[in-house]
């Protein structure tokens, strides 16, 4: 893998807990001081047992979760570095357009919009003009194996796997500098999984930095430059996928 010199994302001392006011203010600690640096173009996979904090970390970076303390520093395409946890909401909304994207395993439904239009709109939000967005949507849908016969139907009529791919297509059209992927291939059959993984691999080669949670080992081994093992809300281990995965007694179980 190429040498990554610039740090794209740096997480330092990130803590996140949830206070449940309805349960007498009970506090659940999810992240307990995460330190993590990811270089530009690097693909980092998060592993760890259920509750280790994988999704919490992704969402804390994206600011869907509000961290308690620590910093999340993102280097923008233009070169400047921005600290995300303390950023104004309005500025973060703006960053989410071009700089940082998040794809969950669930499709946020857009009931009355065609498949192609759903994807094209995401492109237009990121600055494509009308025609270019339609072209780009067509291409990406084709690559993901969504046939033209489906482009004009509504997402609600699609199968789970198709929905997931449409969602991914929206997330990676005009890919942002940092892409956060939360189990993006969980519902796919083997053939479609292949095309999705190929596309994600291509993203990093275009320079997109990826921080991902996958449910299967094969995807990690094929895509990740590095694996970070979370345990109890901290980074337990970080290194080359084969090294880290080897240390785990039951890697798949741990990840699932």
């Amino acid at each position: 893998m190429a040498e990554h010199r610039t740090v794209k994302l740096e997480v330092q001392g990130l803590h996140k807990s949830f206070v449940l006011h309805a349960v007498d203010g009970r506090r659940i600690n999810a992240l307990n001081g995460i330190d993590l640096a990811i270089h530009t173009g690097e693909h980092v996979a998060l592993v760890g047992s259920s509750g280790a904090g994988k999704s919490t970390l992704l969402k804390s970076v994206y600011r869907t979760y509000l961290p308690d303390s620590g910093t999340v520093t993102l280097r923008l395409a233009a070169g400047a570095a921005v600290e995300l946890t303390g950023l104004e909401d309005r500025e973060l909304v703006a960053l989410r357009v071009r700089e940082i994207g998040y794809v969950s395993q669930f499709l946020r439904s857009e009931p009355r919009r065609s498949v192609r239009d759903t994807v094209a709109r995401a492109g237009r939000r990121r600055g494509l003009d009308h025609d270019a967005s339609l072209d780009a949507a067509a291409e990406i849908l084709r690559r993901l194996g969504i046939g033209e016969n489906l482009w004009r139907s509504y997402p609600s009529l699609l199968s789970g796997g198709e929905k997931q791919r449409v969602n991914l297509a929206s997330g990676i059209i005009c890919p942002p500098g940092l892409l956060l992927l939360d189990e993006p291939v969980s519902a796919l059959d083997p053939a479609n999984r292949e095309s999705v993984l190929a596309l994600i691999a291509e993203l990093t080669s275009w320079g997109t930095t990826v921080l991902a949670v996958f449910h299967d080992l094969d995807a990690i081994e094929r895509l990740a430059d590095r694996v970070v093992l979370l345990s109890g809300g901290t980074v337990a281990e970080s290194g080359h996928p084969t090294d880290v995965l080897r240390t785990l007694t039951n890697p798949l179980g741990a990840i699932a």
């Binding site: 065609s114 239009d117 094209a120 709109r121 237009r124 003009d129 009308h130 967005s133 339609l134 004009r152």
Partner: protein
Amino acid sequence: MGYVAARGGTEAIAAAEELVRRSRLNADASWLELDQLTERLRYLNDRVMGEGGLWAPQLAARAIRQAEGDVIEAAHLLRAHRSTLPRLCELIPADADELRPLRRIVPAFREVPGPQLLGRTLDYTGRLLDLGDEDQARAAAAAATAAAARHPEDDPAENAGATEPPFPERLLDVLRRTDLAVDRRRDDDPEPTDISQVAVRPGIGRSAVLSVMARAETGALVNLWYRNILGPDNHLHEVTLGEVRHGELPIRVRHPRTGNPVLLGHLRATEVEAIEDLDGADEDRTRFDVGYGLVAGHNERKAIAMANLDIALHRDHSDSGLEQSVLMTTDGLDASGFLEHLKLPHYVTFRSMIERKQAMRTDRARNERKGRRHHPAPVVTPAAEQAAVPAGEVTP
């Protein structure tokens, strides 16, 4: 030619006027004396003075006689007469506490400070048409008149309140003392507005609104009250009457040179204070609201309606239209004048109306020939569609 300019109309109205004049004189009855109106048709005379906005019993009687008993016409005569009189000075606002009661009732309490004084009222007279002998009645009237002339102190109407203190304390004062009434006295409208000197419109001060009601056509005000109690407008609740007084009120002017008050005389007036529960969500339910009515002459139903509407007006939200209804639609002269003007020639306007009907028909016929509606929605051109439907919505 058979078409003579100007003369036809003049002759016609002169003839009509002459007919009215002659018929008035020619009736098969003796001449109607003014004192018969002022003394025997007291309510009528009072009502004309109230709605005419001029306290002048003799002139009102003339007006009634001239109008052949048409109340609104008589009020019109009084007001038109007043228009010709110069306005030499302004009255000093009269103090209603100086009203010497000829009648006073307080329905809200069984016993009150001061008298419950039934006085002269038709309220408890049996509503049975008196079919008694005319000659006997005439004789009885003459005898009573003569007796009263000999012993004026015995006149029950005139001396009803003589044994009591002249200015009994008001129920409202009692309520105020016990902090049970909201104080509606205001200082933002210190000089009563003379509604003959301004064009009233919504937003004008309370004194003007009260004056408009005081001069309103009695039936119009009673009707407005009733439709707000029972009808769809629903602005009013039934009140409890605190005071109903009828009596004599001294009127003064300021001397133009010295500035000292000078007594001009008295007029009779009816005064009402009405009490209502405060029940709005944002109101102080621990107190009562108070409304005020004061009209010239003896006209209790108008004064009660006025007091009740006064409450409705200040409790009401300004956009309800009630204020405008009170200010703009209760004047008898305005309403009946406008209504009756429909009798005037309208052939120019009617010609214009027919012309538009024909224009509509022509337009319709033209469109029917072309098989379309009058103004079909324009076909949106491709260019317009681009503008109207921003990129993305057009699916091939």
